[in-house]
Symmetry: C4
Subunit: 239 residues, 4 copies
């Protein structure tokens, strides 16, 4: 009755979708819990949903352990450990101390990674990253140098004019991150003519360096899809 995938792990069929829905519910519940003005009734609801989702995950974990063909491979594998970590803090919270629970709670975020199990998404992205790995490293280095130079430059241009805004080079680096990614929060910006001219040149040069890798990944991703289609065609019987 129990379905198993190629590696002998339990596959829950249509129930997998349900587990995904419960994961999303638990993540939203996690966010609602931080709302500052929750009434006692609302806190109870949030807490109940928490208990419900933990129950589902616990049942799922036990089920997977019980019916896996290669039990130890599951328990000590990537997803087995994530499955355990995402429910453990709840039980440890009762055992040790209720107040330290909150810190453990953060680990519950790992639950989100369980989403990875059910879709082909990560696998394909992984392939695309392998294809464009070298370019991405190259980009990371270039972008880091660019951000460093931009941060140092703006600090020297603006430090005297705005000592409170650009207090140290780290403020300059933060400005460089927010500017070269074109986010531009507006918490700090150059006001001197030199600083503005510097920003102009930094942006003209820097935007290319920051924006290029997205094009690389896009083309790598379409290449990965092409290879996938090819593999499927090779495996299918000839017409």
């Amino acid at each position: 009755m129990i379905q198993r995938d190629a590696k002998g792990q339990v596959y829950l069929g249509k129930w997998e979708l349900l587990v995904q829905a419960v994961i999303v519910i638990s993540l939203l519940d996690f966010a609602f819990e931080t709302l500052p003005d929750l009434s006692v009734a609302q806190q109870l609801i949030v807490r109940s949903i928490e208990v419900f989702t933990i129950s589902v995950f616990t049942l799922e974990y036990l089920f997977r352990v019980a019916f896996s063909r290669q039990r130890s491979k599951y328990i000590f594998g990537f997803f087995g450990i994530i499955d355990l970590i995402s429910i453990l803090p709840f039980f440890l919270g009762f055992a040790i101390d209720l107040r330290s629970l909150r810190a453990f709670r953060m680990l519950r975020l790992f639950r989100i990674l369980k989403l990875a199990r059910y879709s082909r998404a990560i696998r394909r992205f992984h392939r695309a990253f392998v294809i464009s790995r070298e370019e991405l490293v190259l980009f990371a280095v270039s972008a880091s140098i660019m951000i460093y130079l931009a941060g140092v430059g703006i600090y020297y241009f603006e430090h005297k004019a705005q000592p409170e805004v650009f207090r140290s080079m780290f403020d300059g680096l933060w400005w460089a991150v927010a500017t070269l990614t074109t986010v531009g929060f507006g918490d700090c910006y150059p006001i001197t003519a030199g600083g503005r001219l510097f920003t102009f040149f930094i942006l003209i040069i820097g935007l290319g360096i920051i924006a290029v890798p997205t094009g690389l990944v896009a083309s790598a991703l379409s290449k990965a899809r092409l290879e996938e289609d090819k593999d499927e065609n090779d495996n299918s019987p000839p017409e």
Copy 2:
């Protein structure tokens, strides 16, 4: 005399362009109506234009109903219902109550969808979306996970330093949306060293995930054009 398209629906020929112009006028009129300091004379003009555009749309609707070959197919089809919905609130407004009119008015927005009828735009976009459907779902999931993790992270880094700005995790999620799309409104931003370093890594990783799909759609769109050209060539007689 009446032109009809392949499905036997009324095609107004050059009048279609005129109807489009009237749609744009009615949409602008809708915006002008919300201006706070309109004089009585101006309100009268806005109202008159409204009555004029509704008249055109009503005539057009009746005309289409009267001369459609497959009348029921038009009336209960996508565009027939949109055509009706875009004029109905005006008449219902008089019938029921003048003040509740404003809420119905919002439905008038559906008029904009009528633009879809007249151009090949939507069809081509539709094709491109079918081609890159799988990648777009994959992107939506990745982007959602990324935004969730970024929102949770920034909340934990900044909540204590700025309890008024990052009140709950939902403020963190809002910040994540504004930052990872590089909009950066500047209504909330990290001020702690940890939060800024976290933002740096989130942006370096996240920008790719957010920006990649645009490249995917662009290549899918050009592929759709290629297929279209091919179809046209196949249908045309050999030289």
Copy 3:
């Protein structure tokens, strides 16, 4: 002695570069003129540079008129008219009134278009735009609809919460322009939960529509270069 291009127009050889430099100087001079706190001496310098650049442009214009083979074709052609318009306001300024000069001065901006004459840039861009024309129209329509819907939506979500910020639908439309292009000035942003959720969905859908055409133009531009290379190869003698 006088060089002429294929159409019999005067070509100044190395002097063309010099004229370009003078154009850039006159544009910078135009900007310096608007500085609020110029001393009398500085105003004199700005004015002198203005007179100098106008002299160069006048001489150039007379030279071109005098030595063009098809004189009327130059004078009433695109560049002839631009060349005239870029110097005329200066002389008219003296003839009519010194104070109305400032308004005429704006026409001097047309000088910048003279840059177009000297480079192949515009021609190539033109070719790329012809290739991707249909997609760009399609994008313009989609982006306009998107911006309109976003503007109307945010107005309804935020008008009650921030009547001073989102006064009319036009403020909503302005917000939509600044947000969907990811500029995000931060002069207006949603504060209600509904408005923020709406922004999230608008951004996820809208970014694609706004960002796609850049990919289209990029691929069209490389296609235009390919065609250019091919044309050059076809014209060159076989090896």
Copy 4:
């Protein structure tokens, strides 16, 4: 015992990686030095790290000079000069004056360029830039014209309404840089209806011009990789 590369220059093998790590440490140390509230103990640590990194760089420089086969080629080559410049300010600082040290210190930034020596990154980027050189020049010209026209336009629209924000055309140009790169700091933005409509059209046209070259460089980069793979295949013996 000493490894040498194809040009007879010293190659430090696994030690190269260590030197790179020391470069990163010295750059971080440079940033920490600017923090305003450092205690005496902290200043001592920062200073010690500085002395340590300078020692490593000096030893490395002497080692390279001593064991280079073509000594003069190294000393007067690009990297030899950078290696010297990155350590010289430290020693000159003691010799001349301790306070003028800070200005010399800025030259220490050249150290970052030493990173270039160790990776193939710059070489590949260089190749991609050569491929798309013409398009990038074309982009730079178009973007500059666009920014100039946008800056002048917004100045005329907003100068009267906000004389304190858009004081001169240079403020307009700064706004144009921040807006067309979609950074949008929010230190200045249009408030008049004309200025906002102008911004809308400028953004629709301008975004393409600014964003296109990133796609160009991305495709050039993948083309460069292709050529590289081809070169490697040509050099390898046939199977």
